[in-house]
């Protein structure tokens, strides 16, 4: 077991359900934090996209929760944790084009079913755990200093 790397920066953001006025503001805050820490444009862009997709999912579908930004020596981690309703079939929900979005979400330009896939596409390590009736936890990790294709 390698020793855990040093935490450089940690921020916790609350996400309210269905708050469309503020939806996306955590992601813009995360982007600014990472820019201030001197992260490369590629890392900032990937982290921002992951965060935005996760944040929109929480706003549109969850009962609310929080997003934790954790910057370590060798990685940027984004943790999304919500209070439900949980995802019954994670493989299905991760499939590009699969969506359970209601019309009002689609009218806002979201809910095309690329969200989870896009988060994974921009991560080096990606894990979802969920229990129906309890909630979902997503951990998306970007490793610093390794090539990304």
């Amino acid at each position: 077991m390698p020793s855990p790397t040093r935490v450089i920066h940690k921020r916790i953001y609350e996400v309210a359900p269905r708050d469309l006025e503020r939806a996306g503001t955590v992601s813009t805050a995360v982007r600014r934090e990472l820019l201030a820490l001197g992260m490369t444009p590629d890392i900032v862009r990937r982290a921002s996209i992951i965060c935005f997709e996760g944040e929109m999912n929480m706003v549109l579908y969850s009962e609310g929760g929080r997003i934790i930004l954790l910057v370590r020596d060798d990685r940027v981690e984004l943790l999304f944790s919500d209070r439900g309703p949980g995802i019954a079939d994670i493989d299905l929900a991760s499939q590009p084009g699969y969506s359970t979005a209601p019309d009002w979400a689609r009218e806002l330009g979201f809910g095309a079913g690329f969200g989870i896939n896009n988060m994974e596409q921009n991560s080096d390590l990606f894990k979802i755990r969920s229990r129906v009736g309890e909630g979902t936890v997503v951990r998306a990790t970007i490793l610093l200093g390794i090539p990304f294709f």
Partner: protein
């Protein structure tokens, strides 16, 4: 292509960011579906052409570090969104032309499509399951 030139070609107005009329955008992407913008655009400094006027349009433009947003079909975003864009220094333009005319005009004038990933469903069809 300079934003000023784009505004002239399309008879578009600056909603905010007129002071950045000299900013260059090399490429453009057009969509109303923000999911597609997030999943496909692969580079920064892109001009986003859209008919969506929700606050999330400008937030997407900010997190993806886009060069400017051009609203088509005569749509104008709410004042709060304009103020947010001003604070984030993202120029907003608006034209009365529709998306097809806008894209055609800019393409003919030499504005190239943004670099993008493969379409998410491009190699999944027809096996992807839908609800």
């Amino acid at each position: 292509m300079k934003l000023a030139e784009i505004a002239k070609l399309l008879d578009a107005q600056f909603v905010t960011g007129a002071d950045q009329a000299e900013r260059e955008v090399a490429r453009a992407f057009a969509a109303d579906l923000l999911s597609d913008v997030l999943a496909m655009v692969q580079e920064e400094g892109v001009l986003l052409i859209t008919g969506m006027i929700t606050p999330q349009v400008v937030r997407v433009a900010e997190v993806m570090n886009m060069g400017a947003v051009l609203f088509v079909r005569g749509k104008l975003p709410p004042q709060a969104t304009v103020e947010y864009a001003t604070g984030a220094t993202i120029p907003l333009l608006a034209t009365g032309q529709d998306m097809y005319e806008t894209c055609g005009t800019l393409y003919r004038a030499g504005l190239l499509p943004a670099k993008r990933k493969g379409f998410p469903l491009g190699n999944a069809f027809p096996h992807a399951r839908h609800p």
